[in-house]
Amino acid sequence: MSFRSLLVNSLMVFALCAIPYGQFNQQAQLQASTDVVVFSDPSLRERYYQLVAELRCPKCQNQNLADSNAPISKDMKAQIYSMLEAQNTDDEIKAYLVSRYSEFILYRPQVNSGTWFLWFAPLCFVLLGGLIVWRYAFTKTKASSVSAELTAEQQAQLDKLLEKDSAQ
């Protein structure tokens, strides 16, 4: 096989491979484009992505709206989109959705009578743990300093024992 025919052959193989790849690539782009949301103001885009990331899909057990393809998530994303375009604040949008889908959908729950334990218990546990460790360490050092000092009587006893030991 001459160098030239090898070159032609390899070019043909390359071309054949390139066609399906090109088609696939186009398809992937089309699929991706269905999820693109276009905002009138680019600052809304950032808020949209933050909201869909921190709101939870009510149908799925542990997915945010951004990750979920459930029909209800699509409805909620569409609602968030239209409320953002209508100049609603993030808090208004969250309140609107919570009034329908309950606080379950908030990955960052509000601080209220039902959730204060959730919010502050970890801090309490850390403080309690710190207190226990501190107390434990404190009493330990006190105990060891006491035991290090021998009374005169004990010292005499020790000396006697050592003397006896070295005499042997």
Partner: protein, 177 residues
């Protein structure tokens, strides 16, 4: 004092066990309902069959079971005979045909019987959204003042009716008389 402190890990373990044990029978898919105790959301939507406009006012004046259903919903097939049975017993049932097509819904009711006094056509799911519907079937118990008293996500069968709806339903109906 020190001896008692030795039991602290055991106490922590026991408390934790109680919480975890209770968690065993909890269904994590059961969500707290935001609308129980609230008025049925306002809406203006057409009725299936005749197309006349319905609103939340049409749900007042009697205790109503509002059932969210669709022909694409498999569990609704299982639920349907129970709804027929309840309608025969005199329970007022109103349907919300959720994100469905009218023709399919009509033939479904012809084939399986129609337990509904009327059906609200919610093709876009807008009423469903205001109700906090996450899928079909869902059933709401609405009193004569139009206040939602109970919500059930999933199929209402005989057991669910007896355990969750019956007593409350009879209480509400008794109050009206």
């Amino acid at each position: 004092m020190n001896r008692l402190a030795l039991f602290a890990p055991l106490a922590v373990f026991l408390v934790l066990s109680i919480f975890l044990f209770k968690g065993l029978d909890r269904d994590p898919t059961e969500l707290p309902s935001a609308l129980v105790g609230e008025a049925f959301p306002a809406f203006t939507l057409p009725a299936l069959n005749d197309g006349r406009l319905l609103s939340e006012q049409d749900l007042k004046s009697q205790v109503t079971l509002v059932n969210v259903w669709a022909t694409w919903c498999f569990a609704c097939r299982i639920e349907h005979p129970m709804l027929n049975q309840l309608a025969d017993q005199g329970v007022a049932i109103v349907g919300i045909n959720y994100k469905d097509q009218d023709a399919k819904a009509q033939s479904w009711l012809e084939q399986r019987g129609n337990p509904y006094q009327f059906n609200i056509v919610d093709a876009q799911g807008s009423l469903g959204f205001d109700l906090g519907v996450t899928g079909a079937p869902e059933t709401y118990l609405v009193d004569a003042q139009g206040i939602i008293q109970y919500r059930r996500v999933g199929v209402v069968d005989q057991r669910v009716w007896d355990d969750e709806f019956k007593v409350l339903y009879e209480q509400l109906v008794g109050k009206e008389k």
